[in-house]
């Protein structure tokens, strides 16, 4: 641990793609056993830098030194040999195989040509206990929650001699609780001497565990900051202007009830009642699996209801369906943009306008008015600050924040009065977050009813007029005004609802 050289030294690294400079002249160092956060807005160059470190891309100019020795990784395998392991956001798990098989994936222990099951199980058990985690070794990986799949991937990454573990937004799709667990594991690893390069958009995680944070903006290295860190400073470095206030929350007087849910029962919901009034932002908080997402999905017709009533602006809805609810002015924005929001292989504007051609009057008698469609898509994209403005690029090539904005476009294309946002800012950068909060606030100002379902407590507290906290399918607490505090919400996550 006393070696003079840093574990990894990134020196003047630039990366040019045809037409784009993704990184220009980036230099910083990663020390042994430190948790080094890498932050920046989407498109700032974080992914490119990671890919250079793990051998997927080659730097156009500049170098990477490992232990003081300049190194060129031609292939990902070279980086692996150098002790650099990466867990990407898209998990690399074979759902049909067991936990143990997944951990040994690609390097199954063999005995006379056959899989040595005993050794494989032992290896998996050792790897997981080294992380302080417990998973059923024989269970099918696909049956486990995403947080467990992530542990499998980390366990696999740490096989052999790992010196730098790169985690690309590891908590992006985890709930509060799982995130905390993962952060404990990460700090444990760092204590064992593994350096961690931790990419995240979640500020409180950085504050909690990072020793240092490096900030990129527009492909350039801005600064490396030491702990303790000031959130305002980091945000300012990331977006290049002072972070006055990320959250927008205007004072409003709520109007009539727009959405009323009473006594809703389903496979995951128990007697849930909720009301949303015009000009109100209602937050729904809860741990992963508490049913908060299913509540919104039930209102929209994506989650089967067994009992209870849904009333939209005075109209009793017997059997909600997505198309029917959209027609009545209720819009649900899914949390998983890639699987439920966009058609990844098609141009982005098609995903923006899909399902809304009639209401947006960009079709006449079934025929598309393509000129008008394109104009409308562009004006909405401009309003939401969607970048880059090449709306005929396929959706899959846009960053998370911009994909989210494309999904949000559907609320601007139709006459909506109730908006259900399901984890609206998961995996998107600070700049895009501010845009989303502005949109939400504007909707409420315009007299719409807004529901925000979120695992991000600071977000819920920052933008909500009222908050429902859910636990095990029930409403555990209903908070308003000054009662909306982190303590109150977190207490309701676990304890029984106060009488």
């Amino acid at each position: 641990m006393t070696a003079a050289n840093p574990l990894v030294a990134i020196r003047n690294v630039s990366k040019k793609f045809p037409g784009v400079t993704a990184l220009s002249d980036v230099s910083f160092e990663i020390k042994r056993g430190e948790i080094h956060a890498l932050m920046g807005e989407n498109g700032a160059g974080k992914s490119t830098l990671i890919k250079i470190l793990c051998g997927v891309h080659k730097a156009t100019t500049g170098s990477v030194a490992l232990d003081g020795a300049e190194t060129v990784f031609d292939r990902p395998q070279d980086a692996e040999k150098g002790g650099i392991r990466t867990v990407f956001q898209e998990l690399n798990i074979v759902p049909q195989l067991s936990v143990a098989e997944n951990i040994s994936l690609g390097s199954l222990p063999l005995k006379s040509g056959l899989v040595d099951r005993k050794k494989m199980l032992k290896r998996a058990a050792d790897a997981l206990s080294g992380l302080g985690a417990h998973l059923p070794l024989e269970a099918r990986a696909g049956d486990l929650p995403r947080s467990s799949q992530q542990l499998i991937e980390i366990a696999r990454a740490l096989m052999g001699e790992a010196r730098l573990l790169i985690l690309d937004e590891p908590t992006a799709s985890l709930g509060e609780n799982e995130s905390r667990q993962l952060m404990n594991i990460v700090t444990g690893l760092a204590r064992r001497g593994v350096a961690i390069l931790y990419v995240t958009h979640r500020m409180h995680e950085v504050e909690a565990i990072a020793d240092r944070v490096s900030v990129l903006r527009d492909g350039k290295f801005i600064e490396t900051l030491d702990a303790p860190m000031d959130e305002a400073v980091i945000v300012e470095r990331m977006i290049g202007r002072p972070a006055s206030s990320l959250y927008q929350h205007s004072r409003r007087d709520p109007g009539r009830e727009l959405l009323t849910v009473s006594g809703l029962d389903s496979a995951t919901l128990r007697d849930v009642s909720m009301s949303v009034r015009a000009g109100e932002v209602v937050g729904v908080a809860g741990l992963l699996g508490c049913g908060k997402s299913d509540l919104a999905r039930a209102c929209f017709g994506l989650h089967a209801i067994q009992d209870g009533g849904i009333e939209l602006d005075g109209e009793q809805i017997a059997k909600p369906s997505p198309s029917g609810m959209l027609e009545r002015g209720l819009v649900y924005y899914p949390s998983d943009r890639r699987t439920e929001g966009l058609v990844l292989g098609r141009p982005l504007f098609e995903s923006m306008t899909m399902g809304s051609h009639g209401p947006a009057q960009i079709s006449r008698k079934g025929f598309l008015r393509t000129q008008k469609e394109s104009e409308l898509a562009h004006s909405i994209a401009e309003e939401l600050d969607l970048r880059p403005m090449q709306l005929d690029r396929v959706s899959g090539k846009f960053s998370g924040g911009n994909q989210q904005k494309a999904v949000l476009a559907r609320g601007r294309l139709r006459l909506a009065k109730v908006h259900l946002f399901d984890e609206p800012t998961v995996g998107i950068d600070v700049g895009a977050k501010a845009d989303v909060y502005r949109l939400i606030d504007n909707y409420a100002d315009a007299g719409h009813g807004v529901v925000v379902i979120s695992s991000d407590l600071t977000e819920i507290i920052g933008i909500s007029d009222r908050v429902y906290v859910m636990r095990e399918g029930r409403i555990a607490a209903h908070l308003a005004g000054s009662d909306i505090t982190e303590e109150n919400i977190a207490r309701s996550f676990f304890a029984a609802a106060p009488a």
């Binding site: 807005e41 198309s323 966009l342 970048r387």
Partner: protein
């Protein structure tokens, strides 16, 4: 990030690179089709004769209609294996209906009506089985293939149905308008119509969304079931139309017609760049795919290549085409 508003394409690369780019993005197919035509024209001058070219068009119409239908179903991330059996049953039904008619001009309309109605019914059945019972389309249409073939054999008792009125073949097979055979004219008009439908109408656009990401389409408020059923109906109606035209050309109703169209229609659609996984496919490219297969088969006939070897060549071409497309995407 601040300069991204100006599109990259204003950069203006060299023309050579641009034409290479054109071949890569537009696909090898147009280039190969032209190359093949040139080769056939050099080796066998009869290939470029007016009558021969018209013949290629005439022979390709049936496949064109069916391949367009198959493309629509494929774009919805489904598959229709029953197109061949639809052709067969349509042929038998249309022949029975017209043979029993007065033989006047109305028998043409009667035949067309019966055939197209049958197409609608078959499409509705296939579509509803897939949409409501959630049977994978591969199995659903494999099953309906068997049912339709069985029906065709029962109705025809396994023998050709003869006695079609002359006027039926006269109008739908041999007559011409402005020197263009009626079937070819029909094929062109329908191809244009389908092109407009897929690219310029809401149901057409919805099909790309449903095939590209079914859940996202549902969440966006698209009626996914209706869209899928419509695709199957269009496909079956086009197959039925092909069956009607084929019956008029053969002059009898045959339960054995059309079996080869299943493979060929998928081949033509995929040659034209239609994705087997849905959400991707452009009509004019499928037209090129059909022409490619038509020219290939015509050229080989002119060169007296045996039909056994032709089978082999078409199979290899198909695999090579798909492989080229895949490799291009990886690169």
């Amino acid at each position: 990030m601040t300069t991204t508003l100006s599109p990259e394409r204003t950069a203006g690369p060299a023309t050579a690179r641009r034409s290479m780019q054109f071949i890569l993005t537009t696909g090898l197919l147009p280039a190969l089709l032209i190359l093949m035509c040139v080769v056939f024209a050099i080796v066998e001058p009869r290939f470029v004769d007016g009558p021969n070219l018209l013949n290629v068009a005439r022979q390709s119409v049936f496949l064109l209609l069916i391949a367009m239908g198959q493309m629509i179903v494929l774009i919805n991330a489904q598959l229709d294996l029953s197109v061949g059996a639809t052709v067969a049953l349509t042929s038998v039904v249309v022949a029975s209906v017209t043979a029993a008619s007065s033989g006047g001009p109305e028998s043409v309309l009667l035949g067309l009506g019966a055939g197209l109605l049958l197409g609608v019914v078959i499409g509705l059945l296939n579509g509803c089985i897939v949409a409501f019972w959630k049977v994978p389309s591969f199995m659903a249409t494999l099953g309906s293939t068997s049912v339709l073939t069985g029906l065709a054999l029962i109705i025809s008792k396994g023998a050709p149905i003869i006695g079609l009125p002359m006027i039926f073949s006269d109008v739908l097979a041999t007559s011409s308008v402005l020197g263009i055979p009626v079937p070819v004219l029909l094929g062109v008009v329908i191809a244009v119509g389908m092109g407009v439908f897929m690219s310029r109408t809401v149901p057409g656009r919805n099909m790309y969304a449903v095939g590209g990401n079914r859940t996202a389409a549902l969440v966006a408020g698209i009626n996914v079931k209706k869209t899928v059923i419509l695709a199957f109906v269009l496909c079956s109606v086009l197959a039925s139309l092909a069956g009607i035209l084929l019956t008029a050309r053969v002059g009898s109703g045959e339960a054995s017609l059309g079996a080869s169209f299943v493979m060929l229609s998928i081949a033509a659609a995929v040659l034209g760049g239609t994705s087997l996984f849905g959400g991707e496919g452009v009509l004019w490219r499928v037209v090129l795919g059909v022409l490619f297969l038509g020219v290939l088969s015509n050229g080989m006939n002119l060169l007296h290549v045996s039909s056994y070897i032709q089978e082999l060549v078409i199979g290899i071409v198909l695999i090579a085409a798909v492989a080229a497309e895949r490799l291009k995407r990886v690169a």
